[in-house]
């Protein structure tokens, strides 16, 4: 049991973490916005935690607060990510589809280059020697931190979907113009969904910095954007379980297949190709379809009788 947990504990935690990052992308997708900005906020959250936990300027604060310092980093990361999300979201969400995706990738790149150039973020080497919260010794114990966050996020997402806000978001996703005509203000709801995703990614980042013990600019890159998008696409983008299943699966595949050595990445690629070819609604979408009764088929149209002149 101990061996299993210490060998695969870190993997289990990264699966939860991937699910959470997938969910952070799922929120804007609920309003039909393909945003790839999550790694930017994730990286920001990580830097906030890393700086608060290692920078000598905060040594006094750390001594006074003790373990309460860690929840504080989550809070600061959430607030900063939310503010930045608002700042970026208001202008960027005027763009649609692929243009929004491009703008958010540019945002991630800008943050990355900034973090490479600042001395407070440690430049290219980044920050290291980040202390562990609540006396955690083994990586698997981070389940106690990421697990509750995942449960809370799922509950929140479910409540949001069932509420008036959720219905408004769905309306915008299906047809923005029609929703606008019905009196749903699209910009406000789109920014709300975007900021929710940003806050979540920021918190996940601030929890991940101690998990990795170090933080650097490579945590928030274009590659990470694509990886997170893949989590959502493979899992399914229309159900809260989609990003969670997709994130967990795509994180686990290369690790569980470790014994295949070089071939494991080939299998990983195959999973991606097969899933996107045969499961356009994602894995959860396909399962949902199986569970649902087949929709009634449209009766074959009767050929109109030939009219003879």
């Amino acid at each position: 049991m101990t061996d299993f947990l210490s060998t695969y504990g870190f993997l289990i935690v990264t699966m939860l973490q991937a699910g959470l990052l997938g969910l952070s992308l799922y929120f804007p997708l609920q309003a039909g916005q393909l945003s790839l900005a999550s790694p930017g906020f994730y990286s920001l959250g990580g830097y906030v935690a890393a700086i608060l936990l290692t920078n000598p300027a905060f040594a006094g604060l750390r001594d006074t607060l003790g373990n309460a310092m860690f929840p504080l980093t989550w809070l600061v990361a959430a607030v900063l990510a939310g503010l930045l999300g608002l700042l970026v979201g208001v202008p960027a969400l005027r763009l649609r589809g692929i243009y929004l995706a491009l703008a958010t990738i540019a945002f991630v790149e800008i943050l990355r280059v900034i973090s490479l150039n600042l001395s407070v973020t440690g430049g290219a080497i980044g920050l290291f020697g980040i202390p562990q919260p609540f006396g955690i010794v083994d990586r698997w114990q981070y389940v106690f931190i990421f697990g509750p966050l995942l449960i809370l996020t799922l509950l929140f997402a479910r409540q949001m979907e069932r509420s008036r806000v959720g219905r408004a978001l769905r309306a915008i996703r299906e047809d923005e113009l029609a929703a606008d005509a019905m009196g749903v203000p699209p910009t406000r709801y789109k920014v709300l969904a975007f900021v929710t995703g940003a806050v979540l990614a920021g918190i996940v980042g601030s929890m991940s910095a101690p998990l990795l013990s170090s933080w650097n600019a490579r945590q928030g890159t274009f590659d990470a954007s694509i990886a997170i998008l893949a989590f959502v696409l493979i899992g399914g983008s229309r159900n809260i379980w989609g990003p969670v299943v997709g994130g967990a699966l795509l994180t686990a595949v290369p690790e569980v297949l470790r014994f295949l050595a070089d071939w494991r990445l080939v299998i990983n690629g195959l999973v991606l190709v097969v899933a996107s070819l045969y499961l356009p609604q994602g894995i959860v979408g396909a399962l949902e379809k199986l569970g649902r009764p087949r929709p009634p088929q449209r009766p074959t149209p009767v050929k109109p009788a030939e009219v003879t002149p």
Binding site: M1, T7, Q132, F134, Q141, F144, S214
Partner: protein
Amino acid sequence: MRHPAQRRSQLPSFAHPALGATLALSLSLGAQAQKVETISIGVAVAQTSNTALLGQEQVIGAKFAEKFLNGRGGINGTPFKLVFQDTGGDEAGAINAFQNLITKDRVLGIVGPTLSQQAFASDPIAERAKVPVLGPSNTAKGIPQIGNFIARVSAPVAVVAPNAVRQALKLDPKIKEVAVLYAQNDAFSTSETGTFQQTAKDQGLTVATVQKFQTTDTDFTTQVTAVLNAKVDLVIISGLAADGGNLVKQLRQLGYKGLIIGGNGLNTSNMFPVCQKLCDGVIIAQAYSPAQPSAANQVFVKEYTAQYKKAPPQFAAQAYAGVQVMVEALKVIDRKKKLNTWDLDDLRAELNKQILLGKYSTPLGPIAFDKEGEVIQKEFYVAQIRMKDAKTGSFVYLK
């Protein structure tokens, strides 16, 4: 803030009591003594991802060490085994590889990981589990300081790089103006360029322009134009093989005629296919040279060349040295008390102590470690690339 180790027995404050009981139980189970079954040493380097250009040379170096040292009696007659785990190019991969080696493969010590940034994430895992680690290519500041169990055989960049500048001045004493270029997103290159710029100033040169690029870049027109406009006599590049090679190629194509110094990231024959004939003449400072005259190195070079048809590169030599140091330390311990009678945890601690105590005659020359685990290496080298044709070339050593 208290150190995590002092709070070892404490549970996460919000853990459920039942979970807490399971945890306490599993911790007590984990504390049971485990005997040493096989003598295995872990190698955690990048076998996949873009870091694999370096990692694969390390795999060859380590595999060669296993075959060669076992052929000469292993550990006082008992052969040892290497266990490889791929770290990929990121932090999570390095942590997973270390976890697997420590708990599943039960290795005595680990040689790895490839990148300094990965070391900052994975070395604390080994430190907590009290497993000795030897970094084969981690050159950033602060690596041996991660903990008592962390050491490295790779000399930090600050002592290697200045030699190249001195050599360039020997080749062309008229050099006055220098252009410095570096890969901004690479930890190694950014710390190396600091050393290069300082050395240039110390030698009385003027740094006319400093240009940044990314390791993922392929087009360097902006940087090359700036270098040409600054009319410099020397260009110093800190980057990795692919980007560095392209940069050299574009500098020459657009008409730069002066000397070029490459940093340690360019210190691999993997660069030759990128800049081909135009690689010719690039000066590189190295922590390893096949020309190093010690008996240990000459045997290594001879056997390696016979097997792989080329002289060993620095990354292979450093990985070899990492394995060799572990094996020699184990030999000393084995002479006092047979390895298979040890308790695994005790042996790991003893191995760490012995690694730091010993003096080793490796292909890198004679090396030892200071109290923190930093390598003490005396000899460094400067080489110049000589291309025979578009594909094959060699590093020619300058004295």
